[in-house]
């Protein structure tokens, strides 16, 4: 299927890609082109927050693919996001070189602090940007492949699968907390200086990463749309609604689930790699089971099984979170829980579903009026 055709057939997708382009262009120009004295100027901080939302949106897209379309309720997708983030963090850590507090050219500060004498083997290669990019894709992909193969082959489904995905991310969190693991323990990786020779504190670099995130989200959307609009998308929907029936017409259900799970994990990893240079830190709390639960709430709020709903949910919920945690930080978790309960009860198809219902009613009214 050629891409032009694909996008042409996806009306909501066209709207989404247009809005994304306009937002990306205007946010970066309001930062770079409008002088700081102007009321219209957007601070670099705001650009970075927007970039963070967009990387979350890419992550939400990944969750929607497996949950909304294939019915695999993964409560561990934060793990793939964090692994992608760590891979990128390791590269930026090695880029610091002699500029660290201890001035060690080879070892990151935390290793010097732990009295380590040489770089662990799994840190080798991360000084190359391309190697790090490869790991951003490969590590989450390989973990998803192994985990998915074991789980799907044993036909673990439903709530049991959700529980073991939570266990997966929890186990990784505990592991990454340990100093001996060599990923900086509970402090994680931080104090990054530059990426590809560009200073991370510079406005230009920040805006470039923001734009790259917007581009990745656009590409991620089109790729996901390609998958769900293909025959595979229909097979995957069939698996969601009647798994065993799908087997009896000749599809190896496990292979399809594994494919989409790995694809989604890779997307989550890329989202994590875009997130880390913008927030400037990656630590084991990114593996927290709570994070993975939040992702599912974003998708539920936006409306699952639509792709753009996931993006909308991620941006809106995170905006609400930013506002809330600024004003009433202790209330946020309750608000989030309340949001989830009310969405489940009153808006099972999320905001997108609600909007579609309104449009239908509205469209009907218009028709009736024109008939009269």
């Amino acid at each position: 299927m050629d891409l032009a055709n694909l996008v042409a057939q996806d009306r909501a997708g066209k709207v989404f890609l247009t809005v994304l382009t306009i937002a990306a262009v205007s946010i970066s120009s309001l930062n770079l082109l409008v002088p700081e004295s102007s009321a219209l100027h957007l601070s670099t901080f705001t650009v970075t927050v927007a970039g963070k939302y967009l990387s979350y949106a890419l992550l939400a897209l990944a969750v929607d693919l497996v949950w909304g379309y294939c019915g695999i309720l993964s409560l561990g997708h934060g793990a793939f996001f964090a692994l992608g983030g760590y891979a990128m963090g390791m590269h930026m850590m090695r880029q610091i070189g002699e500029r660290g507090v201890y001035g060690n050219a080879l070892l990151p500060d935390f290793m010097v602090f732990l009295n380590w004498k040489e770089l662990p083997w799994y840190w080798l290669g991360f000084d190359h940007f391309c190697f790090a990019l490869l790991m951003v894709v490969l590590v989450p992909g390989a973990l998803a492949c192994l985990f998915g193969w074991l789980a799907f082959r044993s036909r673990v489904t439903g709530v049991y699968l959700s529980i073991i995905t939570q266990a997966l991310t929890y186990a990784l969190m505990l592991a990454f907390f340990r100093n001996e693991m060599g990923f900086g323990g509970n402090n994680g990786l931080t104090d990054f200086k530059d990426i590809l020779g560009c200073n991370l504190q510079k406005d230009g670099t920040r805006v470039a990463i923001f734009l790259l995130t917007a581009l990745s989200l656009g590409v991620g959307y089109v790729a996901s749309r390609f998958v769900v609009a293909s025959k595979m998308g229909r097979v995957v929907t069939a698996i969601r609604d009647a798994e065993s029936r799908t087997r009896f017409i000749g599809y190896q259900v496990e292979h399809f689930k594994l494919w989409i799970f790995v694809f989604s994990a890779v997307m989550a990893g890329i989202a994590g790699a875009l997130y880390v240079p913008q927030v400037g830190i990656i630590n084991p709390s990114e593996f927290s089971p709570l994070n993975s639960l939040e992702l599912v709430i974003w998708v539920a709020v936006g409306g699952r099984g639509t792709l753009y709903g996931a993006v909308l949910g991620a941006v809106l919920v995170n905006y609400a979170k930013t506002v809330f945690t600024g004003v009433l930080p202790e209330v946020w978790l309750f608000a989030l829980g309340g949001l989830f309960v009310s969405v489940t009860l009153f808006m099972p198809d999320g905001l997108v579903g609600l909007a579609q219902k309104w449009f239908r009613v509205w469209g009907l009214n218009l028709k009736q009026r024109s008939n009269a």
Binding site: S230, R234, T237, A238, S244, R245, R247, F248
Partner: protein, 270 residues
């Protein structure tokens, strides 16, 4: 009834899809020998032996709980028997294959409870069932060929759902779902069709059309029909097998079977 007969054109095997070699030179297409299935000690199938000839239309009757559905579960890989052998042709050991592999080898099944993909439309249901390479990558890049569209259109016509082709399968009536599922079975181009209670919940007219369709399939395909509706069985059956308590009670023509003293006893509970 030309419409029904046309299905022969739709179902041919010249599509180059690799499936295990089916060898039926010695007659039967399906062999079940001494198959036993127990659920917590209860024997749903008890040393069941059954042979289906190539091209045959066989009806299987038997009281509720006789093990008819369980037998289909064994053939299609859903249930593993405790003992016994199940062969498709001379060479394909079905006990070594999983459900998708059995389906791709050429055994199609219609379930007792109509099961279609409710969220997909009628056309998409048929498209998914279509006999083709069903591995992951080919499925991702699959595009409907004109010949494939044609065969879907033919099956739509055969099962009388052309007007509903864009409707969600979940919105169909019970009888229409039964027909859609039969359509899906036809799209699979199976060599052996297992049909579990096809006319349950159908109107008299729909039942008649189903009978015609199944009759038109026999010969080129082997068809095994499980049914309760005796009138229906009489209208299509050449050979009837009576199942009782997990094994074959008797086999023969409908008249022979209906006059068999044990069958009368089992059915009338005397």
């Amino acid at each position: 009834m030309n419409r029904v007969v046309r299905i022969h054109d739709t179902i041919d095997d010249s599509d180059g899809v690799a499936s295990p070699e089916l060898d039926t030179v010695h007659g039967p297409i399906l062999y079940l020998e001494d198959v036993t299935v127990s659920f917590d000690g209860f024997r749903a199938l008890n040393l069941l032996s059954l042979y289906i000839d190539d091209g045959e239309l066989r009806c299987i009757i038997g009281p509720n709980g006789a093990g008819k559905t369980t037998m289909m579960d064994v053939i299609t890989g859903k249930t593993r028997p405790d003992q016994g052998t199940v062969f498709f042709g001379q060479t394909i050991d079905l006990l070594q294959l999983d459900e998708p592999a059995i389906a791709q080898a050429g055994i199609g099944r219609k379930f007792q409870k109509p099961s279609v993909f409710e969220q997909l439309n009628v056309f998409e249901n048929l498209e998914l069932a279509m006999h083709t390479d069903k591995r992951v990558w080919p499925t991702l890049f699959a595009r409907l060929q004109p010949a494939q569209r044609e065969s879907i259109a033919e099956v739509l016509e055969t099962v009388g759902l052309t007007a509903q082709r864009r409707d969600r399968a979940g919105s169909l009536s019970h009888g229409q779902k039964q027909w859609l599922e039969i359509g899906m079975l036809l799209m699979q181009k199976p060599k052996l069709l297992l049909v579990d209670e096809p006319v349950a919940g159908m109107t008299h007219q729909e039942t008649e059309r189903t009978a015609e369709l199944l009759l038109s399939l026999a010969g080129k395909h082997s068809v095994v029909v499980v049914e309760h509706d005796m009138e229906f069985v009489r209208s299509i059956a050449r050979k009837v097998t009576v199942l009782h308590e997990g094994s074959v009670l008797t086999e023969g023509t409908m008249d022979e079977v209906q006059n068999h003293p044990r069958v009368i006893e089992v059915y009338l509970g005397a």
